[in-house]
C-alpha cells in the first residue's frame, strides 16, 4: 500500500458528501437542529429565578414586619401573591402548590428588634421543587442578612465592622443567558457529532457496502479523514451560525478572537467526530451506536461540562470523570472567548487538552476501522 494520498482522501470525502447531499432531510436537520436548539435553550432556559411566588403571614404589630416584606419585594426576586391570615393557611397553600414559599413574621418581631433581643422570621419552602427552593432560600438569606445589617446599624452612628464591596466581572448583570448561550455551542457540537458520525460506519456495515469499501485501494486513515471532512465542514458552519445567533439574537457580548474560537472548534470537532466514528465502527449497528453515542457524548457534555451544573459541588468521582469530558474544556473556551475576551495565554491548557482529544478521537477511529470483513 502506497503512502497517504490527499487525492484519495478528497475522493473519499466527495463520496461521503454526495451520499450526504442525497439524504436531503438529514442534511437539513444537520443545519436546522443546532439553530433550533440554540433558540430553545436560549429562550426557555433561564436560571434567573425571578418573581418567586411568595405568600406572607405578617402578624407583627410594629412597622418592622412591613419593612422586611418591602425588602423582599424590592429585591425583585419575590412577588407577594397573597397575604395570609392564619398559620394553618400556609400549609394549605404550599400543599396546593400555589405559592413557592411562605414568609412568616411573628407578632413580637418589631418589639424584639427594638429591645435588641434579636428576632427570627420563618420561611416555609415547597421542597418538592428543590431547585427553585434552593435558589429562593439563597435569595431570602441574602435579603434578610442585608436587612438585619440595616436594623443593627440604624440609630447608631457606627458603621458595619466589616463590609464587602462586591464587583461582578464579565457578566455584571448576572444574566443566565450570557452563561448558557456560549456554553451551548459545545453541547450542540457534541450532539451533532453524535448524531452524524455514530451512524456513518455502522451504515456501511448494515447495508453491506463495507465490502466495497474494503476492496477499494484506500488507506484506512484516508477513509477516516475522508468521512470526517464533510461533517467537519457542517460542524464549523453550525458553530458560525450559533455564534452569529448568540450575538445578534441574544445579544451576548463577543469580546475575544474569532480565529481562536475557530481553531478550538476545529480541534473539538475532530475529536468528537472521531469518537462518534469509533463508536460506530466498533459497534457496527446503528441502533446500538445511537444509544451508546448518547450516553458517551451527549449526556457528559450536558451534565459534566460545567455548562449548567457547578462541577465544584459534585462528588469527587464525577469531578474526576469530568476531566476526560472534552466539552468541559470547550465550554471553558467558548465562555472565555465570548465573555472574558481572553486569548491563548489564558486558554492554552484547554487548547492542549483538546489537541490530545482530537488526536485520540482520530486515532481510535482509525484503529477500530478494520478493512477486513469479519462479523
Amino acid at each position: 500500500m502506497p503512502g497517504i494520498s490527499l487525492g484519495r482522501m478528497l475522493a473519499m470525502a466527495r463520496k461521503e458528501a454526495i451520499q450526504l447531499r442525497r439524504d436531503r432531510r438529514s442534511l437539513a436537520l444537520a443545519f436546522v437542529v443546532p439553530v433550533l436548539l440554540l433558540l430553545f435553550f436560549g429562550y426557555a432556559i433561564t436560571w434567573d429565578v425571578r418573581e418567586i411566588r411568595l405568600a406572607v403571614l405578617n402578624e407583627d404589630v410594629g412597622r418592622r414586619g412591613a419593612e422586611l416584606v418591602d425588602a423582599f419585594v424590592a429585591s425583585g426576586y419575590f412577588r407577594v401573591t397573597e397575604h395570609l391570615a392564619r398559620y394553618g393557611d400556609a400549609d394549605r397553600r404550599l400543599v396546593e402548590g400555589d405559592v413557592a414559599a411562605v414568609l412568616v413574621i411573628p407578632p413580637t418581631f418589631s418589639r424584639d428588634l427594638a429591645a435588641g433581643r434579636g428576632a427570627a422570621v420563618q420561611l416555609l419552602l415547597d421542597g418538592s421543587d428543590a431547585n427553585t427552593a434552593t435558589i429562593a432560600l439563597g435569595y431570602a438569606d441574602a435579603i434578610v442578612a442585608r436587612y438585619s445589617g440595616q436594623v443593627v446599624l440604624q440609630g447608631r452612628r457606627s458603621v458595619a465592622p466589616i463590609s464587602a464591596e462586591t464587583r461582578v466581572w464579565y457578566n455584571p448583570t448576572l444574566e443566565s443567558r450570557n452563561m448558557v448561550v456560549p456554553g451551548l455551542i459545545a453541547v450542540i457540537m457534541s450532539i451533532i457529532a453524535a448524531t452524524l458520525t455514530s451512524l456513518t460506519v455502522a451504515r456501511e456495515w448494515e447495508r453491506g457496502t463495507m465490502e466495497q469499501l474494503a476492496s477499494t485501494p484506500v488507506h484506512r486513515l484516508e477513509v477516516v479523514f475522508g468521512k470526517l471532512l464533510p461533517y467537519v465542514a457542517i460542524g464549523l458552519f453550525d458553530v458560525a451560525v450559533a455564534v452569529l445567533a448568540g450575538v445578534l439574537v441574544f445579544g451576548v457580548p463577543f469580546r475575544g478572537s474569532l480565529l481562536l474560537l475557530g481553531v478550538m472548534s476545529l480541534l473539538f470537532l475532530l475529536g468528537a467526530l472521531g469518537l462518534g466514528m469509533f463508536i460506530s465502527a466498533a459497534l457496527k449497528s446503528q441502533v446500538l451506536a445511537t444509544q451508546v453515542a448518547m450516553v458517551a457524548t451527549y449526556l457528559p457534555a450536558l451534565l459534566l461540562s460545567g455548562l449548567i451544573f457547578d462541577l465544584a459541588s459534585m462528588p469527587w468521582v464525577l469531578r474526576l470523570v469530568s476531566h476526560v469530558v472534552p466539552a468541559r474544556y470547550f465550554v471553558n473556551v467558548t465562555r472565555g472567548v465570548f465573555l472574558k475576551g481572553v486569548g491563548l495565554d489564558a486558554l492554552w491548557t484547554r487548547g492542549l487538552s483538546m489537541l490530545v482529544f482530537a488526536a485520540a478521537g482520530i486515532g481510535l477511529a482509525t484503529a477500530s476501522f478494520q478493512k477486513r470483513i469479519t462479523r
Binding site: 439524504d23 430553545f40 420563618q122 421542597g127 443593627v152 463590609s163 468521582v317 464525577l318
Partner: protein, 378 residues
C-alpha cells in the same frame, strides 16, 4: 378473520422483534445498562447546591484579623482557597484563566480599621460567567463577612444589638436535596427516549434494509404490524421504568410516598404517547439516521419545556403556555407528586387524562399515516 389467528400473528411478530433485537447480546447491556448509567449520572451531577467555590486570596494586610476572615469563609464549606498571593493583578489572572471564581482582596490597614471601629472593607471580585453560582456565592460572601464583622466587634467589646435570623423549613424534602427532585424525573425522560427511539428505529430499519416488502407480502394487517412493533418496546420501557425506580429508591434513598398504582397507570399512558410519537417519526423517515435526527428535533424541546432541569415558572409566558402541550411536563408533575408529595390517582387523575388524550391523538395520527405509507395488501 378469527381473533385467535390475529393474536397468533401478533405474537409471532413480537417474538421475531424480540429475537432480532436481542440476537446481539450487546443490546441487553445497552438497553438496560444505559438507563442505569443515566439515572446515576443525573442523580449525582444535577445539583443546584453551591459549595467549594474556588477562591483566590490576596491579603495585603497579613494580620491575624485578615487571616481570621479568610478562615471564616473557608470554614463555611462554601469556599475553597485555590491560591494566595500579594499582588492584586493575580486575581484578575486567576479569574481570566478560570482557575478561580471568586477573588478576595484584603487591603493594608484592614486590621487597624477593624480595631478602631472605622469600618474595615474588603474587595470581592466575582466571575459572573456562571450566573447561578455567582449569585449564590455573592450572597454567601456578604453574609459571612457581615456576621464575622459583628462577632469580631463583640469580641472587642463593641456590642451591636442582635439582628434578624431566617429560619427556613422545606416541606416534602426537608434537606432540600436536589436529588429527590431530579432522580424521579429521569424516569420521564428515559421512558420517552427508549420508547420513542426503539419504535422509530424498529420500523425504519425494515424499510432501510428492504425487509418491509417481505412483511408486506405476509397476510399481516397494518394494525397487527404496529402492535407487533410496539409491544416489545413497551415491555422494555416498563422494565426500564422499574429499574430506574429501583435505583432511585435503593441507591439514592429517594422517598416514595404515594401510590405505585398511580405511577403504573400514568407510565402506561405516557409510554403509549411516546410509542405514538416514535411511530409518527418512523412514518416520515426513510433512514435510521433521519429517524435519529428527527428524534433529537422532537426530544430536546420536550425535555427543555418539561420542567426537568429548568423551572417552568421562570420561563417567558409564551413558553410556559407551550409546556401545557408537552406530555412530559404533565408526567413529571405526576412522578414528583407521587414520589415526594404522596399523591395517588385521586390527586393526579387530571394529568393522567391529559396525557391519555394526547396519547390517543398521537397514536391515531401515527397509525393512519403509517398505515397509508405501508400500503399493506389487506
Amino acid at each position: 378473520m378469527s381473533t385467535s389467528l390475529r393474536l397468533l400473528r401478533i405474537r409471532t411478530l413480537v417474538k421475531k422483534e424480540l429475537r432480532q433485537l436481542f440476537r446481539d447480546p450487546r443490546t441487553k447491556r445497552v438497553v438496560f445498562g444505559a438507563p442505569i448509567i443515566q439515572v446515576v449520572l443525573f442523580g449525582y451531577a444535577v445539583t443546584t447546591d453551591v459549595r467549594h467555590v474556588s477562591t483566590f486570596v490576596v491579603d495585603h494586610d497579613q494580620t491575624a484579623a485578615s487571616r481570621a476572615l479568610v478562615d471564616a469563609l473557608t470554614a463555611s464549606g462554601y469556599f475553597r482557597v485555590v491560591g494566595r498571593s500579594d499582588r492584586s493583578g493575580d486575581i484578575g489572572e486567576a479569574l481570566d484563566a478560570g482557575r478561580a471564581v471568586i477573588g478576595i482582596e484584603i487591603p493594608r490597614g484592614f486590621s487597624a480599621d477593624l480595631a478602631a471601629g472605622r469600618g474595615a472593607r474588603v474587595q470581592v471580585l466575582v466571575d459572573g460567567t456562571n450566573s447561578n453560582t455567582a449569585t449564590i456565592a455573592q450572597g454567601y460572601v456578604n453574609r459571612i463577612v457581615q456576621s464575622h464583622g459583628l462577632r469580631e466587634a463583640a469580641r472587642r467589646g463593641v456590642e451591636f444589638p442582635a439582628g434578624v435570623e431566617l429560619r427556613a423549613r422545606a416541606w416534602f424534602n426537608p434537606d432540600l436535596t436536589s436529588r429527590a427532585y431530579n432522580v424521579p424525573a429521569v424516569v420521564g425522560v428515559l421512558l420517552l427516549l427508549i420508547s420513542f427511539l426503539l419504535t422509530a428505529l424498529a420500523v425504519v430499519r425494515e424499510r432501510e434494509m428492504g425487509t418491509l416488502e417481505q412483511l408486506q407480502m405476509t397476510p399481516l394487517t397494518p394494525g397487527e404490524f404496529i402492535l407487533g412493533k410496539t409491544i416489545p418496546v413497551a415491555l422494555i420501557a416498563f422494565v426500564d421504568m422499574i429499574l430506574v425506580t429501583a435505583v432511585a429508591l435503593f441507591w439514592f434513598d429517594v422517598p416514595f410516598r404515594g401510590s405505585a398504582l398511580a405511577l403504573f397507570v400514568a407510565s402506561a399512558v405516557y409510554i403509549l404517547a411516546s410509542l405514538g410519537a416514535g411511530l409518527l417519526i418512523s412514518s416520515i423517515s426513510r433512514t435510521q439516521q433521519e429517524a435519529f435526527m428527527g428524534m433529537f428535533l422532537v426530544l430536546l424541546p420536550l425535555v427543555i419545556l418539561s420542567g426537568f432541569m429548568y423551572p417552568v415558572d421562570s420561563m417567558p409566558a409564551f413558553f410556559q403556555k407551550l409546556t401545557l402541550l408537552n406530555p412530559m411536563r404533565h408526567f413529571l408533575e405526576i412522578v414528583r407528586a407521587v414520589f415526594l408529595k404522596g399523591a395517588g390517582l385521586a390527586e393526579v387523575w387530571p394529568q393522567v387524562v391529559v396525557i391519555a388524550v394526547m396519547a390517543v391523538a398521537v397514536m391515531g395520527l401515527a397509525t393512519r399515516r403509517l398505515g397509508a405509507s405501508l400500503r399493506f395488501r389487506s
